[in-house]
Symmetry: C2
Subunit: 311 residues, 2 copies
């Protein structure tokens, strides 16, 4: 590479000042140092994005920087953790200064919004591969797990389902009369950090929807040893997604398409009254294992990536 | 990929039982959860290894798994931190079960040795790229920084210099009569975890030698606003490295070759008496900026990757 690893970090990624009292030492030594306030635990998650696998070659680098951080903050949100810091491991085919400037802008703008410190990382030469490790704080014992959904819990989601999936279809050539919100949701998702924080002490189980509602809710069901039934008519679907379903007949898309980065969570009926932010009740936790859907008067069994008629 | 991301983690990487009381939640949810004992900080570091950049295609996967973790534990060692947990982000061109089994064996064997928990990660499809984030504990205020070397400090290194560099040359075709120790040092370095722990409260500054002694000590000097003079005759050089220098005339190799993963640290003359483990005094911290070498009765200025005569 024409400029050194150290110079890349210095030049493109250190303009941010330290925001978090947890950050005791940031970029510049062999390790960063974090302290935790008393009574808190650290939630830690990592996600990698690979060119031509998770994003198309030529993707707008500012959107890419935003999305890379967003998908990692989404994991923290799903545990109810407040994001504090991230590490960034960049593997780059070359040092393209315009690309790096735009990528850093997208990444650091979102970091600033949530007062997240970029505390370290690594830059290496190779095929474009981006890995973030995100760290957040959660009061001890308050983290939202996949494994603690209870019989009778109501199932909720934030936001709308399937818009990101529609955005991907638009990029792949599907014609949509109003493409902007779907494209925005695919290219530049907003992690539901505030919703996650609001859910600690209220929700029993939570997950973020990265691989499609059916599959991700399926993880909650499996790890909690319960089942669920969803109500098709209650699903929050945007106008463009409903149009897509009418056009294509592909009604299952909002249940199986990835990249929504909304939260899916379960709450006891009593605590449901305490939900203060915008979210939609879409179903109920049941004793019988498996995921079912009530649609057009019939109950169908849903698999993560397909559908079987129930009987 | 023929088997899912979740199945890869389950099958190859979860045989390890949780070892650390800091690990409150391991693999299986959106985040892992860590707690810190009172009075401790978390040291965090990340390092990526890319095929054909950091290792040759076809490298023994068991050695590769070991080395990937070793280089990350080495960063913790250089801060004086006790390793507790790691995240593993694997980008794989395909799912080769034999490769994964051997890689996991090398990685987890070293993890077991230091009671390090693998608490999470991500597996993605793409060109072979391996990223680890390592986390360790250090008593608050006791971390060994690059920036705190003091005038008059003695400079020490653990182990020998240049053996890994010689190992690389052997792999590239150099004939060596006794290649085993050099190859071992290149392929399967031992991170100096115990030395790092022993240095807290004794050393003023510390770094691990990943890019060659001259460059890495240079970081200490720059960040501490001091200079140093090394004594060539004091450098710990193995028989095969001395033979290589005699053969090739390339005497600077042990100062500039990477991959040693030894620790270089500075200690006040008074505290030097407290050093209880095997290490070698190789020089002294001086006021004049820059790195110098006393060799054959003359003092030369060293640059990270080359040499200038001093006068």
């Amino acid at each position: 590479m024409p400029i050194s690893e150290f110079a890349i970090i210095q030049r493109f990624f250190t303009r941010q000042t330290v925001k978090n009292p947890s950050t005791r030492l940031s970029i510049g030594d062999d390790c960063a140092l974090l302290s935790l306030p008393e009574g808190y635990e650290l939630a830690v998650s990592t996600d990698t994005m690979v060119e031509n696998v998770h994003f198309f070659a030529g993707t707008n680098p500012e959107q890419l920087g935003h999305k890379l951080l967003a998908v990692n903050l989404s994991d923290l949100a799903s545990m109810g953790a407040k994001p504090v810091s991230v590490m960034l491991a960049l593997t780059l085919p070359d040092v393209d200064e315009n690309w790096l400037t735009a990528f850093a802008k997208g990444f650091l703008s979102l970091a600033e919004r949530y007062s997240v410190d970029l505390i370290g990382g690594d830059t290496t030469s190779g095929p474009l591969t981006l890995t973030v490790q995100a760290m957040g704080l959660v009061p001890r014992g308050n983290a939202l797990m996949r494994s603690s959904a209870l019989l009778g819990d109501f199932i909720y989601v934030t936001g709308m389902l399937g818009d990101a999936g529609l955005g991907l279809k638009i990029i792949q050539g599907y014609h949509c009369a109003n493409p902007d919100s779907a494209l925005q949701r695919f290219n530049k998702p907003d992690p539901r950090v505030d919703a996650g924080l609001a859910l600690t002490g209220i929700a029993n189980a939570c997950i973020d929807i990265s691989d499609g509602l059916a599959g991700d809710l399926g993880h909650i069901l499996e790890q909690s040893n319960v089942g669920a039934c969803l109500d098709w008519d209650a699903l929050p679907l945007s106008g463009p997604v409903l149009d897509y379903i009418n056009d294509s007949g592909d009604w299952s898309m909002p249940l199986t398409a990835g990249d929504d980065y909304e939260l899916c969570f379960t709450v006891s009926p009593e605590k449901a009254l305490q939900l203060t932010f915008d979210c939609r009740k879409i179903g109920v936790i049941e004793a019988m294992p498996g995921l079912r859907l009530l649609r057009s008067g019939a109950i169908q069994t849903l698999k993560s990536k397909g559908y079987e008629h129930f009987s």
